[in-house]
Structure formats: C-alpha cells, structure tokens
Amino acid sequence: MGYFALLLGTDIVFGEHMSADYLPLGLQAPDPFELYNKNKEMVLLNDRPLNMEAQAHLLDDDITPESKMFIRNNGLVPENIKPLTWTLTIDGESVRKKKTYTLEELKSKFKHHTYQLTLECGGNGRSEFDPPAKGNQWTIGAVHCAEWTGVRLRDVLEDAGVKNDAVYIGYHAIDEHLSHDPDKEPISRGCPMSKAFQDETLLAFQMNGKDIPLAHGFPLRLVAGGWPASVSGKWINRISIRNKVHDGTKMKGSAYRVPCEPVAPGKKVKDENMCIIESMPVKSLITYPKTGAMLSKGKSLKIRGHAWAGESEVTKMEYSIDFGATWKSCRLSEPANRLAWQHFDAEIRFPKSGYYEIWAKATDAEGTAQPMVLPGWNPKGYLNNACHRIAVKIK
C-alpha cells in the first residue's frame, strides 16, 4: 500500500479497505481514446503497442480531423517531450557538415509550406489476405489525409549540405522499444533522395493548423505523402543522409517489403528477393453512407468518398451495383495539391428492391485500376487495394 501511495504521490484514503491484488485506477493503463482524443467508433487493434484504425464512414471529412486518424505505433508513445530544447540533427555518410537545429531555428530559418497529404499504412487491408499475414489486422481504416505545415526537408538537407554520393535518408526518433532496450529503435525508415527532395516532403510541426498531436508525432514529424505511412517518421530528432539504402529497423527482411516478382499465396520468399515498397497503389473509400443503409424503393442514394493513388493521381472514379458487371462514373474532384486525396460523389438509382453491394473503383493516371479481388499475396500482407464495398437494402 505504501508503494502505491509513493507511485501515486498521495496517500490512499481508506486504503486499508483496498484488496491486496487491486491496482488503483491511477496506475492502470489510461483509456487511449480519451488520452489521444479519438472518436469512440475508432477500432482499437492493439493497446501495446498502440494501434487504432478508423471505419470507412468516420473518414467522411475532406480533411481528416485528429479524432478520426488511425494510429500505428511500433514502440511506445514518448512522454515528457520538451519542445523548447528539442533538436534535429542532420548527419550520415553523405552530409557535408553534421548540423543540429533547434525547433525554433527550423521554424524561423526556413520557409513554411502547407499541404494536404494522404498517409496510408502499408498494411492497410492486411486482414483480408489468405493465408493470413502477420501483423496488426488492419481492415480499411489505416488511411487519412490531414493538412500538414512545416519546412521542406530539401531546404534543411541542402542547408547542411548533401554530397554527390547521397542515396537515401533515414530517420531516427525518440520513441522507446517495446522491450525498453535503449539500444533498440522501434522503427527507423526513410526514402530515396528523389522522394526526400520533393516539394511536398515536409519536416512538419503542425497538423490541421495546430501543434501536431502527441500520438501523431509531436513536436516534429517527417511527412512523405503517397508512400507507406511508416516513411513519415514521428518524434524525429535525427535524419541521416546515407550513401546506401538506409539499413535501420524495419528496412530489411519482410518489413515494408514485397516479393520483387509475384508469388503464389503462402510461398516463402528469400530476403534478397524482397523489394522495398515505394508509392502506395490506387485506392478509394465510400465514406457515405455507412454500410448497412436501408432505404425505400424509388429513392435515389447519394454516395460520396475519397480516392488516392500514391505518387500518381486518380483520373477516373466508378461505382457498380451489380458486382462489377457494369460500371458508372462518379464526379471526381481535382486534388487540393499533389498527393492529397480527391473527393467523389454519385447519385444511384436502384432498378428493384433487394440486397445490393456498392463497389467503388478508382483508376490512376497510368490507367491502373483497383482490383475486385485481392491483389498479389505477400508475406506481410501489404498493398491490399481491392475495391471497397458497402451493403445496401432497398425495401
């Protein structure tokens, strides 16, 4: 009892009535929904490490609010972050001169830019693969498009100086490994220089006009839209300019890599035959109505949602109410900027009463469309961009 009192920093009144194996509320894991301002309809996949996804209908906003953004953590959410003393160091084999910036220096020295950027977890849709793929069983909700404000990574890298032999950047962050081993990084990924140098690749310090929420990378996050969201490292304090492909945690083996050549479901693939995922594939979500809508015969149904295509852009959006036999066009908006998701809507009339599924199919600028069934199997179940389906009944 005295031990608990010490931990809580206060005496426990009536503590003598407390059962010996009872853990006081103040010492139990706090509710992640409250702690991270999440909508109660978000789905908790794992509480340690914390992983939480949205449902399709929660993602109806054009710009995703904090409360409906998925959380994907590999390690533990850091505590006691001090933004005033926070620094970012640029180092690595290919930096001209190792340089350290305070957060204030980053903000005052470099021009600010704001972009809406689509971030989708590489494993979004993993739950559908057969044989099952290892990892958090994301369904469809590990995607969001928020508005990020920060400085261009390119501007900072060029300020420190980039040698001609630079190949890749790798990020490092302060989050703790699940085993609490200080020598282990939960995740340290990155991207080739070409992606690092894009206009839209940011070192962001704001999300949706405010400081970035803790669970999403406060006070500094690398944001690389259109690529697996694991490239967009949270709680960043160091970026290494590498003269080779970055070899940090989750850059090797089957992590964020897929077979370079297609394989049969369940096949074992050697490490040397796995390739790093770069752009995410074309995909879309019907965000209104929520699946399960019942309406009376003769009424039309207005649907809407978002579509995105990794590095590319969506050029065509279609829906089907007959299991893909025929397709009709949706109205499709231009992206707010490159790498932002686009919005679509359509008005549907149903020929007779009964059970329908509405399927949504986006096509990108290269003419590549979403598949109706699962795309190629891979050991970790990445890149499932099979068409989104909702169920509707006409009475």
Partner: protein, 159 residues
C-alpha cells in the same frame, strides 16, 4: 352541480396543496440539517474528491476467468494459458496474439524472430506449450480471394 359540493371540493384541493407544502418544507429542513451535520463532522465533505471511490471500484483479479476468458488479457482459458500470459504479454498486449492466425511453423518462425531481434528469452519446453495453445485456440481461417460482407448493422437511412 350544487354550490356546497363545489366548495367542499375546493377545500379538499386546498388541503392537499397544504400537506404537499408541509412535506416539501420538512424535506428541505431534513436535507439542510444533514448538510450541516456532514460539514461539522467533515469540513471538506462537498469539496474533496471521493477518494473512497478507488476502494469501492471492482478490483482486477490478475487470474480471473469469466465465461472461459482470462479477463486481464482477453485470452481463451485453455491448456497453456498461463504459460502464454507469462511469456507473451510482457512486451506487447495479447491483442497481437489473438489478431494473428498462424500455423505452428509460422509461430515458431515468429518466436525465433522475436528472440533474434526483440529480446525475447529462450522458451525451452514452454515453446511447444505456447505454440500448441495458439494453433488450437486461434487457428487460421480460410478467407479465399474475397470474403462476403458480414457483420452488417442494418439501419434506416434518413433523408
């Protein structure tokens, strides 16, 4: 209607109202007396947090099983449960186990990966107990190339 009956009824109604007022006044008196007594006995009665609430909350029994489920972890109560709890829920929660449906071979590979890279200790003879528990209680499900839509919550769509 006769005037006498009417005045009788009015009188009865007045009496009912008077007795109601009496009850309300009496209740108010008792309540304020209770507040006074409470404040005299414990001056912070209404401002202090009810710290006794901690002791009144349902305690978490670390080994409690309800409806065949180990309450603390959500794992199915079956042979090998506590071996799994003690070896597999220290770094990550049990949700990572129950989400994943793998064969014995792939669990063994995963254990090896955790030992080589994630600081998992040698499991010895417990490894077989753990893998048997997982493949028995959380077997892989056949999903094919695309599942039918299920678990739909039907609702009337308002305009």
């Amino acid at each position: 209607m006769e005037p006498t009956t009417q005045s009788n009824e009015e009188e009865r109604a007045r009496n009912r109202i008077y007795s109601l007022i009496n009850v309300v006044v009496a209740l108010a008196f008792i309540l304020s007396a209770a507040v006074l007594i409470a404040l005299i006995l414990r001056p912070g009665f209404f401002t202090e947090q009810p710290s006794s609430a901690i002791a009144e909350t349902e305690p978490i029994d670390r080994d409690l099983i309800e409806n065949g489920i180990h309450v603390r972890t959500g794992l199915i109560d079956a042979e090998g449960l506590m071996t799994v709890v003690n070896n597999c829920t220290n770094c990550h929660s049990a949700k990572l186990l129950t989400q994943n449906r793998m064969s014995a071979d792939r669990w063994n590979e995963t254990i090896l990966w955790m030992q080589q890279t994630q600081n998992l200790w040698e499991l010895g003879s417990n490894q077989e107990v753990i893998v048997n528990y997982l493949v028995t209680n959380y077997p892989p499900k056949k999903k094919g190339r695309r599942m039918i839509l299920s678990d739909i919550e039907w609702y009337e769509l308002e305009d």
